[in-house]
Subunit: 448 residues, 2 copies
């Protein structure tokens, strides 16, 4: 067996320990596949650990580990966007290839980090940053490389999906399930990143870049969480053949009837009604899945564990195995073999495009509307006339029996419509005297 | 943009035309991702075509095209195992990288073809050979490279899955649906390869090699088709919470209680009851999906179109895009950059293992049994005693009302059992005087 591949790991939390365990468990598999020995030479950890192989150097000076002469590849697993960024930039400047699972860091600072990596002829690999163990980065960058991606839709936050699944399966309200998710360790003490959709938005920014060949633009992702989803809406959706999931969408829109303003990319994360019989609707609990619609391939779906030590370690080590091949070719004029490497954002850097990201008002989706009205014979006619005047097509209506003081909930599903038109229509509906409450709206997608 | 990548295509049938169309449609995408121009320089075709770009040479001498100086990469899309083999061997000997969609050829002659490729320092890529556009070869070889695969289960023949889906959804008998599949062009005039499971067995042989690091052993795949599945069994299975699908399984079995004979790999393709709520059970029509269970990743699933011009062209061109990176590194001492390349069968050749393939009698699965008996109070006791004496655990029993001449169908689901034990038990059951027919058996897997 030829020269060993030397790894330094920054951070020995759940995922770092998962990587150590994977290498212990599967060393034979790793060697048989790569033809090389894989050795952890050093770990950067503030707290000394006595359960680690004594041949591995434990260094409390993380910056030193990031630039260690003992490492070909540095694996960053400490998380966060401050120290982690410094460590990665430091490793790159010292000619190390980097593997990271840090979605927040890359979504917010990836353009800068990847540019530095290219300038230093090293690679930053990040399979574990999106959808955990599901190899969606490799699939999008390599397996779909000959396709033109039209759109993708992903359940990419396990905590959010666990909450939506429990609400539907057991009829438990949001707050109750959130507490359980925290007890189970799925959700953080501060659950904002999960329930407000920020974590999903980080991942969506990465997916959209590699799908469409655009720079990372996390700040332009429209983001709506699941906090306001009620059991009532979950149950009306089911009655109409839909399921509410928290989904991230990246959609390419061509110019509509010569209006160049309408061309661009929608980046949005929000609760969405999707058809019950879609595979994506049957992705339950903490599982993740990404559905990609591309030409000429059509729809493909990728499903698995989106988090957890084992799944994340699997993705981290897949990146390491790819880098082993880069390290195998010793071209002295091109030590990083950049010509050979998959571009960081799937497209070669000078080919990234400045396709605009659309504003929320420009986005096109179907809608679920829940309108509360006095039980008055004219009310349905009023609502449907307003929608029809705004050019909004109704796909289904469900009028429920009056539930309190003569008020009836009316549920309306619409075909896709530009959001600005829907805003105007809702404004008008809310002004009707027969309407008793704000209109509840949730987006809807047929995934067709 | 640097030097063009030159492609020669052998065969301009549905898939060959699909590749030409893909390159026309998505040339911008291909260039933006690869940083190279991609040009078809020559096609080998017996019949001259006037709808092809006149800059492309049409050559009726296929052997000449396979060795053409106009090509960096030769794409074999003529199918079959005789001429296709000669063409590929010829191309390899002339230093061409090869891309093929030919599952039968690789399953039967892959060991020889890959050895020749390694000796000639070129690569033979075959993403399109298994599950069409689903990137299962890349996923298994690269994305799961750090995992130890425990088992995989795949719906890898679209025609068979279309037939099983129609039988269940519409209550139509096998022969009727097969005729429609032939009319729709899903099934060949001679449907043997599809309905007897041979096509699925070809694909399973390839998947098993890259999962476990064993040579290709198509001749050892146990293979059972769907011809004998009746609507009665489809409906009883549904009643018990299961769905019958035609599934290929590759399963690693460790030695059982120190019995080394029981260790090995099961390679089998057969109709299988799987739980209705499993994602795999909801893969319908001509769609394919592969479920992989590996450590430490756990279960992941890959879903999409398993056939068709667009899906196959997508996989063929993904291979081309990978080879572009090999061609990008011009190390004069190692023109094929073999150190850099993913091994053909995922594991480096000298690390392939001789793990035995288990015989059918050694395989372990659950069973669905349909027994027809005279409606006699003692019959159920007799059957269950025979099963219990053979150490076979019953998971569920469904006794249906008598349907003719006082005969009752009894449906029994068992927990996993070694096939040889089940054979003995069934032999005994069939000898009972109260039993009126051969026992119908279908394997069952919980996919857990």
């Amino acid at each position: 067996m030829s020269k060993s591949i030397k790894l330094a790991i920054l951070g020995l939390g759940t995922v770092g320990t998962g990587v150590v365990n994977l290498i212990n468990d599967n060393l034979d598999e790793l060697k048989r596949r790569s033809g090389r020995d894989i050795v952890i030479t050093e770990v950067g950890t503030r707290r000394q650990r006595d359960d680690i192989d004594p041949n591995i150097i434990q260094n409390s000076d993380l910056m030193a580990t990031a630039a260690s002469d003992n490492a070909d590849i540095v694996i960053e697993l400490i998380g966060g966007t401050t120290l982690a960024k410094e460590l990665i930039m430091h490793a790159i400047k010292h000619g190390k290839h980097v593997v990271t699972a840090n979605k927040a860091l890359l979504a917010e600072h990836g353009n800068e980090i990847f540019a530095l990596a290219e300038a230093n002829n090293v690679h930053v690999a990040y399979e574990a940053a999106v959808a955990g163990g599901i190899p969606i980065i490799k699939v999008m960058r390599e397996a779909l490389a000959a396709n033109r991606v039209d759109w993708l839709a992903g359940i990419i936050n396990g905590t959010g999906n666990f909450i939506m699944t429990e609400m539907r399966d057991k009829g438990r309200p949001f707050a109750d399930v959130l507490l359980e998710a925290q007890e189970l360790g799925y959700a953080e003490a501060d659950p904002t990143f999960d329930v407000e959709g920020i974590d999903a938005a980080h991942k969506l920014a990465l997916l959209a870049s590699i799908a469409f060949g655009i720079p990372l633009q996390f700040d332009k992702v429209y983001c709506e969480g699941i906090r306001n989803i009620t059991l009532q809406d979950v149950s009306y959706a089911e009655e109409l053949g839909y399921r509410i999931k928290h989904v991230g969408f990246a959609v390419r829109r061509d110019a509509n009837e010569g209006n160049d303003e309408s061309a661009g990319i929608e980046l949005r994360v929000h609760p969405t009604l999707i058809p019950q019989d879609a595979l994506l609707a049957n992705v339950n609990g903490v599982k993740n899945a990404v559905l990609v619609n591309s030409h000429p391939l059509g729809q493909t779906l990728y499903y698995g564990d989106g988090a957890g030590a084992g799944a994340t370690a699997s993705a981290v080590m897949a990146d390491v195995m790819d880098l082993v091949r880069v390290l195998n070719t010793n071209d002295p004029n091109n030590p990083g073999n950049n010509g050979h490497h998959v571009p960081h954002l799937a497209f070669v850097p000078e080919q990234l495009s400045d396709t605009p990201i659309l504003r929320a008002e420009q986005m096109i989706t179907g809608y679920y509307l829940r309108v509360h009205a006095y039980d008055n014979p004219g009310v349905l006619a009023d609502i449907t006339r307003i929608l029809s005047d705004a050019g909004i097509n109704i796909d289904a209506i469900l009028q429920k029996p009056a539930h309190k003081l003569g008020q009836v909930p009316v549920i309306i599903l619409t075909l896709p419509v530009v959001e600005s038109q829907m805003n105007l229509a809702i404004e008008k509906i809310e002004k009707l005297e027969t309407i008793t409450d704000k209109v509840v709206r949730i987006r809807l997608d047929e995934l067709a």
